[in-house]
Each structure stands twice: as structure tokens, then as C-alpha cells.
């Protein structure tokens, strides 16, 4: 069975948040309750005038060994054959265990419904032969999506400051190459 994954190139990210807007538009995520399945995180380092800013667009990375799934007390989280990890909101009780165990902050508690929701990798779009909403609009190609066996093993598995993903095996890789000069 084919599975999918993300490829992210932080040096190309212009922090425009188109990925987040597209995600909300397609998945009709509720606005105003701070549920942001995909969001752009920004980290500054260094001191003036030698500063560096890294931006990462982060959502669920659909880990092969998903901790959120492991810790869910009501087994509301499941993994499809194609590797997409989903939350069954009918079963979810909103206990928040998955939020604690996910190093990427993917599961989010919707305070209006008291349920956890998260990125679905737009499985409904994938089934129609389209790409997930975020990767469809990303204007610079910083965020790419594709078949995991084409992405797997390339680039780096983490950026500085991120969790070591050896156990979870998330489906995301990062490009750490600098620009050609």
C-alpha cells in the first residue's frame, strides 16, 4: 500500500501562511478557537545584528509509530492502510493525552466541541487525485507532499530544536542544504 509524506525546505519558506489558510478553507476548520491544524512556527536565534530566523510549517506528520495513537485511552486515533492517522471524533473524550505526547503539536483541542481534531492530510483530496490543500498552494515549494518511498531517507529527519524522531518515524523530511552561491 502506498503511503505519503511531507518534505519541507525551511530556507524557502516566506512565512506567508498560505498553507494554514488553504487548510482552513478546504477542511472548513472552525476559526477563532485557535485550532490550527497546520501553522507556521517561527524561531529567532542570535543577537542583533547577527540574527537568524527559521520558519517551519508544521502539521501532523502521520508517524508510522504514532504516540498519539498509542496513548489514546479510548482508542479514538487510528491509522489507515495508507499511513494517514485520523481521529474518530465520535469516540474522542477530549482528555488531551495525545496533545501531551505529540512532539509536533498536531492534535488540537477544539474548545467549542471538547474534541481533539487534527490534520487529515486531506485524505479526501488524495482520493480525488489531488494534493493536500497546503502543498497545493505553497507559493515557494517550501512545503511539498508526495509518495513516502520517494521522500524517505532523503534530507534530514529533524531541524535543530526538534524532537529526535527515531521512535515515532514521522513522515516528514527536511532539506538542510543552503542555497547554491
Amino acid at each position: 500500500m502506498r503511503s505519503y509524506g511531507w518534505l519541507f525546505d525551511p530556507k524557502r519558506c516566506i512565512e506567508c501562511s498560505a498553507c494554514e489558510a488553504a487548510c482552513k478553507q478546504w477542511n472548513q476548520v472552525e476559526t477563532g478557537v485557535n485550532v490550527r491544524w497546520r501553522r507556521v512556527l517561527r524561531q529567532e536565534s542570535g543577537t542583533f545584528p547577527n540574527v537568524q530566523v527559521t520558519a517551519v510549517s508544521m502539521a501532523c506528520n502521520h508517524c508510522e509509530n504514532a504516540f498519539c495513537q498509542k496513548v489514546c485511552p479510548v482508542r479514538a486515533i487510528w491509522r489507515r492502510d495508507d499511513g494517514i492517522v485520523l481521529v474518530d471524533t465520535d469516540r474522542c473524550v477530549g482528555c488531551g493525552q495525545c496533545h501531551i505526547f505529540c512532539p509536533y503539536g498536531a492534535p488540537q483541542l477544539n474548545l467549542a466541541t471538547r474534541k481533539t481534531t487534527k490534520c487529515t492530510m486531506c485524505f479526501d483530496r488524495i482520493e480525488q487525485g489531488l494534493a493536500p490543500a497546503c502543498a497545493t498552494v505553497c507559493p515557494t515549494g517550501a512545503l511539498q507532499w508526495g509518495e513516502w518511498d520517494a521522500i524517505e531517507g532523503r534530507g534530514s529527519d529533524r531541524l535543530p530544536g526538534m524532537a529526535y524522531p527515531r521512535q515515532m518515524r514521522p513522515h516528514i523530511r527536511f532539506v538542510t542544504e543552503p542555497w547554491r552561491s
Partner: protein, 741 residues
């Protein structure tokens, strides 16, 4: 989409995959694939949020917009979109949208008054406007009329001209100065920069990446892919600086000194493009004056004004002079900050580009190759328009060199102090009060207007001063032919079509203008045979004459048309002398500097206001028009005040605390964000927040407005300061900060 097969093809087969340098094995991924899948039934249209007007594919399901993505064939945005375009359906479906024409029943105006709207029919509204116009015009004459509006769509431009209304728009706060300078130096103002072929790029505050203006920001990205060297001068580290090889935190207003010193070095060391400069510019005629003029602007002098070390300026100038093609792009308000010294700065940067020999050359500043779409006036010739009053409310006639644009920055003073009570009839179209400097002054001025018409899509602040409100449509509901010039190396036209119907009783701008025209100036809205002109016929005629198709329906079926025009570099320029002008004789004739001179910005730090104010534009917003979009507001809706930690420590301000920012114009309270990305002597605030209208359910009453801190101007000030091109100084302020309790 990345597939196994494409990776192998790109790398030339599996066997060599391991032996390739890592970069090339990856290059495959980042070939900005044009093959983004889209649903075949989606409709082509063009975005209308900013001037980039990127091509879109909109998926409509059951009459509502399901998803919006880029148009893969569009060279402009390369099949992608920014957050604003992607989420524009939220603007279309905004529950706050104006639904019906309304009239005010409470005669008292102001943001604290409830206008007590009453719904009326379109005919009633239009008749009422016509009646009031006729009454005011006959009682007070033509001087009492004013339109605050852009000249687009051309229907409105015709309406104002036909009614003899003076029109004011925001160009002085934007790129008005650059229009004048461009016309004088290279003959035409364009936004087209061929960055992807440039090898050396110097950005004076040019910040399109941080604003996500794709047609331009992607050009910089391609420049990086092609190995260009990018230098960025900006007091604040923005997303653009991330793409720069060097970021130099220049002192606000000091970029002019850097540009002058760079010209000094180029001339001293003869590092300019000799062929171009001797053949196509007026440099040979004025060589002695030019060389003499820039003699005094040494890098050592510039260091004192800009905090950039002299040897750095010298090195950058030498690299700029010896690398080809080199370019120093400019853009609108963020071109290099709209300060009082914007005119010499635009001029200096134009000279840099001329010396680099990049005008209309690959890798430089070129004239866009677009389809010629005949305008409204070319197709339906109007009779002669009435003359406008000689004395304008904004006083622009005192600046003979300024272009044909109105001035927002002096308008409030004109309405309140110079000509109190003169404006009786005001037509306000799609502007936000918060885009005017010192908007509270403008609010006072609007209270003095007898009758105000407002055309808008959302209940913005200006509605509180309107007597009649007309709901208009947005770009997803209208038709147009879009040709853009920001990245137009070859002609490309996209259709704009209504993907969904207009909600409730909203009507298009064309309808409003023509219906008012029929009532008030019928001669200007008739065809030669006496029948009324119609927008759809105009579109058909435009499509026919520009060769895009048989009629608009045909063009709409195509969706877009790509033309072919070989890129032949210009040898004639549309200036007075037919050459690029470094020395501007027209300015000399009017006793204005024919060559750029150093002058500081208007407001400089003092004991009372020790910090420079910088405004920046959040990437997720288009100025102040998209805050009510809940998606964008969630992405960027916090009124951050960016302060350097050392500065904050001096005032006892902690990260996330409330902070009050005061200037001589007013004050605002925001949330402190301590960051190392800003100069210690500057404070940065976002532009666009601070709508006060409680009818805006998302953005109303949230945040602060940066324009409360920007002092407005009077026309006499401009004349006195020698601001001859009428720069609006929309960023020119100094502030004090203190913790807000």
C-alpha cells in the same frame, strides 16, 4: 507531487542516484512543478486582492466556493497562491457584508453615534444621491464636490470626470513619488523587475517576500536558485532578509545616504556600464555636473548618516558596479519607506539602475510586454469633460512637479483648516479610514460634510459618516480582463469571471457608476447611436480589439491567453530627451534638485520621542482591507509592537506586556514582542489593524491603528520643507514607549 518515478527520471536512473551530489539529487524536488493537480471542472479567474492579480482556479460546489488554488499556467504566480487569495472565499461569504442600500436617519455623525440605518431600494438610493448632487452643485458650485476613490474601475473615473468632481486617492502615501521620478528618468513607471536573471541585487527596504506578493517574491526566490547575491538594507530583519546574503540594519531614512555614496563610488571608479550610459543616457551631456554633484557624498560621510560602515558601502558599490546584471529594485510604499526624502531616494536608486545599464535589459528593470487592452475612453469616446476647480482641497496645485495624483496626507487639513466647510458632497469608494494618516483628524473633517455616499463591501469605519451606503461586489463576483505588468516578460491575459453570484442586493461598480451617470450626466454614458453604454459590450469590444478572442464569452471559455512577444531591449525612452535621464532638466527648470541631494527624514528622534517608528505589512493581510477575514485574523491579528530587548529593559517592558506607543500625533497600545531582529533605536508596528467599526464581527475594535501615530501634513509644510513631489510620509514618525497599565 513527488513520485518515485519522477525522482528516478530526474536523477537519470536508480544506479547513479547515490553518486550524485546531494543537491542535484534534490533539485528534482524543487523544480517548481507546474503540474499541480486541480479538479478539471474548476473555473479560471484572477485574484483581486492585490495588484499581482494572480491567476486562480476556483472549485465551486453547490453554489459555494469549495477551494481556491493557483492557475498552473500563469507565469505570474506559477500555480500557487498566498494566504490572502486562498482564503478570499471567507471575504465573499463574510456575514458582515453590506447587503442592501441604506440611508441614515440619525443626522448626527461620528463613530460614537448609531446612524440608525434604514433599508431602501436601489432606485431610491440612486435618486436620492442624484437629487442631493444636483442641489449641492447648484447651491455651492463645483468646488463643493469631492471623490475619495481610486480611478479604477474606469467607470468611476468617467463618472467623476463627467460630474466635474475632484478626485483624491492614496498615491502620495504609496508610489506617487516614484511615478514622477520614473517618468523623468526612464520614461515610464513599471513594477517589472527581472530579478531571476540578475546576478547582484541590492534591496533598499524592498520587502515583497515578507508581504508575500508572489509575482515579485518568487522572482527573488528564482534569483537565489540561480545563485544571485542579495544585499538587503532594512532596519528590521524581515522574511526578505532571510533570502539575503547580507542584511544591513540601516538607520531609518539613511538608505538615501547609502545610495548616494554608492553612486559616488561608481562614478569615482568608473564602474558603470559604459556602453549603455554613453549611448542611451544624458550622462555625456551633464557629465561634469553629475561628477561634481556626487563628489561630496563619500562612503565615510554616508556612514555617519546610515550606520553602515564605509568600507561595506564601498565593497557593495564595487560589487554592484562590476557584476552584471546588477539591479536595485523599488516598489510601492515599502520601496524604501515613504519618508520625506523619498523623492531623492527614488531618484538615486533610478540612477543606480541606469548606471548599471539594466534599463529594459535582461536581469534589470524592464518595460512590461503586455497585451494592449483599449480603455473605456478609447472605445466610447466621451465629450469634453468640464474643467476642474483650480484650487484643490488637498492643495496639490502648489506642487507643480507632483504627478496627477491626489494627496491623502494633506486632505484632512484641507477640509478642516484651509477650506473649512467647502466640501459638501463626498463620494467615498472602497477606502478605509485607517489608511489615512491621523485618521481622527479625517473623522472630524468628515463630520463637516453635508452629504456623503459610500460604496464598499464591508461595514468599515467610514460608514459612520455616510448618508447613503451602496453595497458593491467583490472580485469573485465580477468580470474583467486582467493583464498584469509585474512579471510580464511576454503578454499574458487572464479572465476574471463571476464564480459565484452577488449576494443579496450587492451591485457591481459599473452598475453604480452607469446608473448615476444616466441620472446626472447622460451625455457621457451614451454610445454614438444614443443608446446607453454597457459593461458587457465594453468587455466584448476589448477582447475583440486586443485579439484575445471573438467576444468575452469566448475568452472566458479559454480562461487565459498567453501571447508571444520577442524581448527586444528598448533603445528609445519616453522621456523629454528620448534617453534615460540621470540629470533631470525639467526639475532644474523649476528650481528643484535635478540630481538627488541628501536630506534627512521629516521626524528625527528627540528627547521626547527617542525612537524611530517603523511600520511593516503582515504577510497575511492586504494593508487594512482583509482584517475581517477570520482565517487571516487568526494568522496575524495581534497588535505586536516589536522592540529590541535592550530598549525594552530600559523601560521595564516585558515580552507580551501591554505597551503604549506615543508620537506627536497620538498614541496606541499594543502587545510588546521583544526581538533581536530590530535596531535598538527603532520600534516596529504592523499596519492595518485597528478598525473601530463594531459591525466588523472579527476585526472591529481589535488592535491599534499605526496611522494614529503618523502625523498628517499641511500643504504649506510640504512647500516649506521642499517636499516637491508630495511624499505622504506615511511612515515618518518618531515615538516614545512606556509600559501600559
Amino acid at each position: 507531487m513527488i513520485t518515485r518515478r519522477s525522482v528516478l527520471q530526474g536523477a537519470g536512473g536508480a544506479a547513479v542516484l547515490g553518486t550524485l551530489p546531494w543537491n542535484e539529487a534534490f533539485a528534482e524536488f524543487f523544480e517548481r512543478s507546474q503540474a499541480i493537480p486541480y479538479p478539471p471542472e474548476s473555473l479560471v479567474t484572477a485574484c483581486g486582492i492585490c495588484d499581482s492579480a494572480c491567476g486562480m482556479r476556483v472549485t465551486v460546489k453547490d453554489g459555494t466556493i469549495r477551494f481556491i488554488q493557483g492557475l498552473p499556467e500563469d507565469p505570474h504566480n506559477e500555480g500557487r497562491l498566498c494566504a490572502k487569495g486562498t482564503s478570499s472565499a471567507y471575504i465573499r461569504n463574510d456575514p458582515d457584508r453590506l447587503k442592501y442600500p441604506m440611508k441614515r436617519t440619525n443626522p448626527r455623525k461620528g463613530l460614537e453615534e448609531d446612524p440608525r440605518w434604514v433599508r431602501i431600494s436601489w432606485n431610491e438610493a440612486l435618486d436620492l444621491i442624484a437629487e442631493k448632487y444636483t442641489e449641492i452643485r447648484s447651491k455651492y458650485g463645483q468646488e463643493a464636490l469631492l471623490a475619495i476613490s481610486r480611478g479604477r474601475p474606469p467607470w468611476f473615473a468617467r463618472l467623476y470626470s463627467a460630474l466635474g468632481m475632484e478626485r483624491v486617492d492614496h498615491n502620495d502615501l504609496c508610489y506617487g513619488v516614484d511615478i514622477v521620478i520614473s517618468n523623468q528618468t526612464i520614461g515610464r513607471h513599471t513594477f517589472a523587475w527581472d530579478l531571476e536573471n540578475a546576478k547582484y541585487i541590492v534591496l533598499f527596504g524592498w520587502d515583497m517576500v515578507a508581504r508575500a506578493k508572489l509575482s515579485l517574491s518568487n522572482r527573488l526566490l528564482h534569483a537565489k536558485e540561480n545563485g544571485a547575491r542579495v544585499i538587503n538594507f532594512n532596519p528590521m530583519y524581515t522574511a526578505t532578509a532571510k533570502f539575503a546574503d547580507e542584511w544591513h540594519p540601516v538607520r531609518p531614512g539613511g538608505d538615501l545616504a547609502v545610495a548616494l555614496a554608492m553612486i559616488h563610488v561608481l562614478l569615482k571608479e568608473n564602474l558603470y556600464d559604459r556602453d549603455f550610459v554613453s549611448q542611451y543616457t544624458n550622462f555625456p551631456e551633464y557629465e561634469t555636473q553629475i561628477r561634481e554633484h556626487f563628489e561630496k557624498y563619500t562612503p565615510e560621510w554616508a556612514e555617519k548618516e546610515s550606520d553602515i560602515p564605509a568600507d561595506v558601502i564601498r565593497r557593495i558599490a564595487r560589487q554592484f558596479g562590476s557584476t552584471r546584471p546588477a539591479v536595485a529594485p523599488l516598489h510601492k510604499k515599502t520601496l524604501a519607506a515613504n519618508y520625506e526624502n523619498a523623492a531623492p531616494l527614488c531618484h538615486a536608486i533610478a540612477i543606480l539602475n541606469i548606471l548599471a545599464g539594466n534599463i529594459d535589459r535582461p536581469g534589470g528593470h524592464y518595460f512590461p510586454r503586455t497585451f494592449e487592452i483599449p480603455g473605456l475612453d478609447a472605445i466610447y469616446r466621451p465629450p469634453a469633460y468640464p474643467k476642474l476647480p483650480a484650487k484643490r482641497v488637498d492643495g496639490r496645485e502648489k506642487l507643480p512637479l507632483a504627478g496627477g495624483y491626489g494627496m491623502f496626507s494633506t486632505l484632512a487639513d484641507g477640509m478642516l483648516n484651509r477650506y473649512p466647510g467647502r466640501v459638501k458632497f463626498l463620494f467615498w469608494n472602497n477606502y478605509n479610514l485607517s489608511s489615512l494618516p491621523q485618521r481622527r483628524m479625517m473623522e472630524e473633517a468628515l463630520k463637516t460634510v453635508e452629504f456623503m455616499v459610500l460604496v464598499d463591501i464591508l461595514p468599515m469605519d467610514a460608514m459612520y459618516f455616510a448618508d447613503v451606503v451602496l453595497p458593491s461586489t467583490m472580485f469573485l463576483e465580477g468580470s474583467d480582463i486582467i493583464v498584469r505588468e509585474m512579471a510580464a516578460k511576454s503578454p499574458f491575459a487572464v479572465v476574471r469571471q463571476p464564480v459565484v453570484g452577488a449576494p443579496f442586493e450587492a451591485k457591481s461598480a459599473a452598475y453604480i457608476a452607469i446608473e448615476l451617470g444616466k441620472r446626472l450626466a447622460p451625455d457621457y454614458f451614451r454610445k454614438a447611436d444614443g443608446s446607453w453604454i454597457s459593461p458587457s459590450e465594453l468587455l466584448d469590444e476589448q477582447v475583440r480589439r486586443s485579439g484575445l478572442g471573438q467576444n468575452f464569452a469566448d475568452f472566458r471559455k479559454k480562461g487565459f491567453v498567453a501571447g508571444e512577444k520577442p524581448f527586444i531591449p528598448a533603445t528609445k525612452f519616453a522621456t523629454a530627451s528620448g534617453k534615460c535621464q540621470i540629470y533631470i532638466p525639467a526639475f532644474a527648470a523649476k528650481n528643484y534638485d535635478p540630481l538627488p541631494n541628501w536630506r534627512p527624514k521629516r521626524d528625527l528622534p528627540s528627547a521626547d520621542y527617542p525612537y524611530y517608528l517603523i511600520t511593516y505589512l503582515p504577510a497575511a493581510h492586504k494593508r487594512n482591507s482583509t482584517q475581517n477575514n477570520p482565517v487571516l485574523f487568526e494568522i496575524d491579528g495581534t497588535p505586536y509592537v516589536h522592540i529590541h530587548p535592550s530598549t525594552a529593559a530600559r523601560h521595564g517592558i516585558r515580552d507580551g506586556a501591554r505597551v503604549r506607543v506615543r508620537s506627536r500625533a497620538g498614541e496606541a497600545v499594543g502587545v510588546a514582542r521583544l526581538t533581536e531582529t530590530i535596531r535598538p533605536d527603532a520600534v516596529a508596528v504592523p499596519h492595518g489593524l485597528g478598525h473601530r467599526s463594531p459591525w466588523l464581527s472579527v476585526a472591529g475594535g481589535k488592535g491599534f491603528c499605526d496611522n494614529d501615530l503618523i502625523p498628517a501634513q499641511t500643504i504649506d509644510e510640504l512647500v516649506q520643507h521642499g517636499n516637491w513631489l508630495g511624499s505622504g510620509c506615511i511612515m515618518d514618525a518618531v515615538v516614545a514607549i512606556e509600559p501600559a497599565v
